[in-house]
């Protein structure tokens, strides 16, 4: 059997979901027999080098760079998986949704109780910086997502079961204890 090609990325996430991928423990030795990693923070490959079978997305879209990468993944991956609460519903970054963006920036850079030494009242706006979106978007509201694995982080068993099912093209096992939102 040819090895499946996997790519992963972390958008507006905390890398906790990637840590949970590593939490599959010794099964990582089985995984590496079954798959090859392409673009991913795990191997630090920055650009896709080949068509990818399974793309794993951690985090939602909070800025223009996130949406660009997400669309780049959609173009290059046959299957896209939203991994974790942030990819599925925006997660903690989405707590700013509902609050106008100017209000958020003022709180962060001008008026917040922990703001110090910003005497010129600068709100960072360099063209090198990705543009903040009006709110944090769940990935499936930006591109088509094929599968969703909830959790904060998703349990390692859930990730393993899902990956194993996708790689071997079998139905997935979803015991009650492994599908959790926290």
């Amino acid at each position: 059997m040819n090895k499946k090609i996997i790519a992963t990325t972390s958008l507006a996430g905390c890398f906790g979901c990637h840590m949970s991928i590593l939490d599959i423990d010794e099964r990582i030795l089985d995984l590496i027999e079954l798959v090859e990693f392409d673009k991913s923070p795990i191997d630090d490959i920055k650009k896709f080098t080949q068509p990818v079978d399974i793309g794993i997305i951690e985090g939602g879209c909070c800025n223009s760079e996130n949406t660009q990468i997400l669309k780049y993944f959609r173009e290059n991956c046959k299957i896209l998986v939203s991994l974790g609460e942030c990819a599925i519903m925006g997660g903690l970054p989405a707590m700013r949704n509902g609050i106008p963006i100017q209000e958020c920036l003022n709180e962060a850079y001008l008026d917040g109780p922990t703001v110090q030494e910003n005497h010129e009242h600068i709100i960072p706006n360099d063209e090198e910086l990705p543009l903040l979106l009006d709110k944090v978007y769940p990935c499936h509201e930006v591109v088509k997502i094929d599968y969703f694995l909830p959790g904060c982080p998703p349990r390692a068993d859930l990730i393993w079961n899902a990956l194993y099912a996708l790689i071997t093209e079998n139905p997935m096992e979803m015991p009650y204890e492994v599908v959790k939102f926290d």
Binding site: S82, E85, I88, M89, G90, G91, L92, A94, M95, N97, G98, I99, K135, P138, H140, E141, F148, L149, P150, C152, M174, Y176, E177, V179, K180, F181, D182
Partner: protein, 236 residues
């Protein structure tokens, strides 16, 4: 088949069961070890039937089983793919209409809305998130009223009252602006036991007892290992 005295015969999902006259379909099902999901209903209070989770089919019509009394020979359909999908969509609508951030919620693991989502295997809501802007009322010394998570089930309004019968909580505004608010005068002097009871009776994490949270480790909370309703299904 003749049934026990004072009990009437109904058929639930093709199974013949007996229950006392006057019971609602939810009560009759529970007595017979069959779980019909409920959310806004709180045992010991009058049912309100606002969440519609308990919807069943009687003679091909959709009815709320928490308010409908049983009648002789009634044929009820509850645990079908169609009805469970309808129930799941109600849970999904509740998730997208508020701000339900489970990872940061004190009630996570003990939350009935979350438990229903687990039971119906909700992985992602099929509706777009609305992310409404809501306020947090922390004015009471005993509790926090977290409006982001409120599902307006009315359980706190019905069950939390003082010795004179005065309500601590009340509805404010109408339609999509409807909110459950805490009476500022009564809330300022809320007794400790009532504050704990308010948190307990809230199905979600909208009423929080102050200065305590996250005291149960993941894996030991109410719905970590067993789905909601399994305590009814597993009885004898």
């Amino acid at each position: 088949m003749e049934g026990p005295i004072n009990k009437i015969k109904i058929s639930l999902d093709g199974k013949t069961i007996f229950a006392p006259k006057g019971s609602t379909i939810v009560e009759a099902a529970r007595e017979n070890g069959i779980y019909i999901p409920t959310l806004c209903h709180f045992e010991g209070t009058d049912p309100k039937a606002c969440c519609r989770i308990c919807t069943v089919k009687i003679n091909n019509r959709l009815m709320t089983s928490c308010t409908t009394p049983i009648a002789e020979g009634m044929e009820i359909e509850s645990n079908s793919a169609e009805l469970n999908d309808l129930r799941k969509s109600i849970v999904e609508l509740l998730f997208v209409s508020g701000n339900h951030f489970c990872p940061t919620c004190e009630k996570s693991g003990n939350c009935e809305l979350q438990a229903l989502a687990y039971r119906f295997k909700m992985l992602v809501p099929r509706f777009p998130y609305s992310f409404p802007r809501k306020e947090v009322d922390a004015s009471s010394p005993k509790i926090i009223k977290e409006q982001n998570r409120c599902i307006a089930c009315k359980r706190c309004i019905k069950t939390i009252r003082d010795e004179k019968g005065r309500h601590y909580f009340a509805y404010k505004n109408r339609g999509q602006h409807l909110e459950v608010v805490l009476d500022p005068v009564l809330g300022a002097a809320m007794p400790d036991d009532l504050a704990r009871k308010a948190m307990e009776n809230c199905p979600v994490g909208s009423i929080l007892y102050k200065e305590k949270g996250f005291d149960e480790p993941i894996g030991t909370r109410k719905y970590d290992k067993q789905p909601i309703g399994s305590e009814i299904e597993n009885q004898s």
